[in-house]
Symmetry: C2
Subunit: 389 residues, 2 copies
């Protein structure tokens, strides 16, 4: 049953090859001072930087740059950006990159005019902004996180060794607009592409695997999963397959813009396990999720059997005839495993650098959430990590 909820998502999306042509018209709605945020510089090689700065120049914008935003954006980098954005009197923060760059831009948006320490306010006390929020916009170059259409922002504090995400309640934190051109993702290395594909799929799973009721959100989730499965196979064969890459971009957006969580409880336990691995190894996010998923799902399967049967039948097309519910459910996970292997995902945490001696340490830093089929005990967490080795 759909629990009560509020839904609002005003981000305007310009989707498709050549969508950058809409950037100029949107920029005209904001003041002169733009802070351009990007990552390691790949946008300078593939021409996206030139395309964006040409539009900024054409529109007469005064641009300050924050370059070098890292895959897990740090608090130190946020402090650095706050000084730049304050000195520049930022009217708009334009993120050009993937989820990390976009996450960083949102953290910056709520911090520029914040009179307190943003880490304490937003990532320790989880408060909402009480200051003016600088508008954010995004030109997306990687898919997976859904950051282009949500109010989430993950920041890493290297001093305290904490990576904390805050999904802000205010829709003002969401990008005002995002430019989604699937061709911008064509040149991404294969490892990043498939990690992103699994990130999308797992975002959907995290919201799907709770409850056994009849809920529209789960039907939408199944549709999105089927689309990712098919497009993942196609993109893996040909990374320049526009149809596949555009579907992946669109499913990524809807996998994590709050829609499929409407009216549902969620525990995000694969992320809790994967982030523990990421904290210890600095491995790519999507691969940490892939490496722990099957052991986790096989472990909780008996507690959410009815849903795992539904997953097998509706998502993977498993025929339940002549099978027990448990056999059907396990065949669904087997089909998922075959798909993951076809994509070339990392299937165990050893490959990411985890050793058996580290399992207790991993369990120490794994947060346990409620809302799913089973609130894991410490022994279970160690066991899941052991099975993921």
């Amino acid at each position: 049953m759909l629990g009560n909820f509020t839904y609002c998502n005003p981000t305007k999306l310009y989707f498709g090859e050549g969508a950058i042509k809409n950037l100029g018209g949107e920029l005209a709605k904001y003041g002169k001072n733009v802070v351009l945020v990007y990552g390691g510089g790949s946008i300078k090689k593939n021409g996206i930087y030139d395309a964006v700065t040409a539009v900024l120049k054409e529109r007469g914008k005064d641009v300050a740059e924050i370059a070098g935003v890292m895959p897990n954006p740090t608090l130190a980098k946020l402090y650095e950006g706050m000084e730049i954005a304050r000195a520049h009197g930022a009217d708009l923060i334009l993120a050009v990159g993937g989820g990390s760059v976009c996450d960083y831009a949102k953290a910056l948006a709520v911090s520029v005019h914040c009179e307190e320490d943003p880490w304490q306010k937003y990532y320790v006390r989880f408060e909402e902004p009480s200051c003016k929020i600088v508008p954010v916009a995004c030109v997306l170059t990687m898919v997976g996180t859904g950051s282009e259409m949500n109010a989430g922002s993950v920041i890493t504090n290297r001093e305290t060794k904490q990576k904390i995400g805050h999904v802000f309640a205010s829709e003002e934190v969401m990008p005002r607009f995002s430019v989604l051109d699937p061709t911008y993702t064509f040149t991404l290395p294969h490892y990043q592409m498939v990690a992103g594909i699994y990130d999308i799929f797992n975002h959907i799973c995290e919201q799907y695997f709770s409850g056994e009721d009849d809920n529209t959100s789960d039907y939408i989730a199944e549709g999105l999963m089927r689309s990712v499965i098919r497009s993942g196979i196609d993109a893996n064969k040909d990374p320049r397959d526009y149809e596949a890459r555009s579907n992946l971009m669109w499913t990524a957006t809807w996998a994590l813009n709050t829609l499929i969580a409407c009216g549902k409880a969620t525990d995000w336990m694969v992320h809790m396990l994967g982030q523990a691995v990421g904290g210890v190894t600095d491995a790519t996010h999507g691969m940490t999720l892939a490496a722990v998923s099957l052991a986790y799902y096989r472990h909780i399967l008996p507690y959410g059997l009815k849903k795992f049967v539904r997953f097998a039948v509706n998502v993977w097309g498993v025929d339940p005839a002549g099978r027990t519910d448990e056999e059907t459910a396990r065949e669904g996970l087997a089909a998922m495993e075959r798909w993951m292997k076809e994509l070339g995902l990392v299937m165990n945490i050893s490959e990411l650098g985890v050793k058996e001696s580290m399992l207790e340490e991993l369990a120490d830093v794994t947060l346990v959430m409620n809302g799913g089929y089973k609130a894991l005990g410490r022994e279970e967490i160690v066991e899941i990590f052991r099975e993921s080795l």
Copy 2:
């Protein structure tokens, strides 16, 4: 393949039993002068009128009323409302009712400050508003049209016998917020309830049946269809089944808020045929769609065979083993027919008052659109109506 598109839908939705508690906080964001719009007065019997006016009073609003908005809101009624809203200096138009009331409120919103004749500007020339748009909000009491989260508005001109819909491009025409309480739909008569269920289902079909490519929009559409099928059966058995009614309310919103049309061509031909029947008989919209659907789909099946096979397998669970594609496709439509009969829908146009002598007249007023599998010729239209008798 997803064609290029723009998506933006800023309507804030408060969903669930008791969601009316959010009305006061939202009203505080707007000026003092509220125009309250509603229909035939059922909201006075079921307590919704009292609940809404209590909040308006509590917030100190000065309220003008436009009552008696009819199922197909007329241009004459729009002119009448424009005078009321202008005299009142409307800061907000609050629609309390179903799709017609909400459609009317949106037509009013773009007409209050319009210096030209709104019929000519919006429904003949299909122009966008050039004047200030009065904010609209909605408390929904019937589901089906999706009007609570889109920029569509259908107005009927009785003098010219034209019923014309305009989906405005500006998201400013969309309701600023909508209150969606599934319990508000519990008391709807069975005939209206099932007509609404079919309206939802058909909205999804209209956007699904085009193209044979691989497109995320179609996967989402399949999820929504499966949800409507299941919830329709449950609600038909027990109209006070909250789970079913809440799923129906939520699928109705997403069936027609532009999401599943993203990147697709659509021809809306069932609506074109059904609206012709509605124009001649004044029958309930959802029933006119039900009565022409099967003859139409069976007619175009050979032109979109691949998609009808997919529909049969993915939506209706038809097993394609041992069947030709055509047999699989036809079995899908047979399953759909069984579901429609179980709901108690009107399955032919004779029951709505159409006689064989009227078929040519119906064909005269049926608009033919492109974007689907087959642009119908006049003889085909007559034949579909004949098979629908």
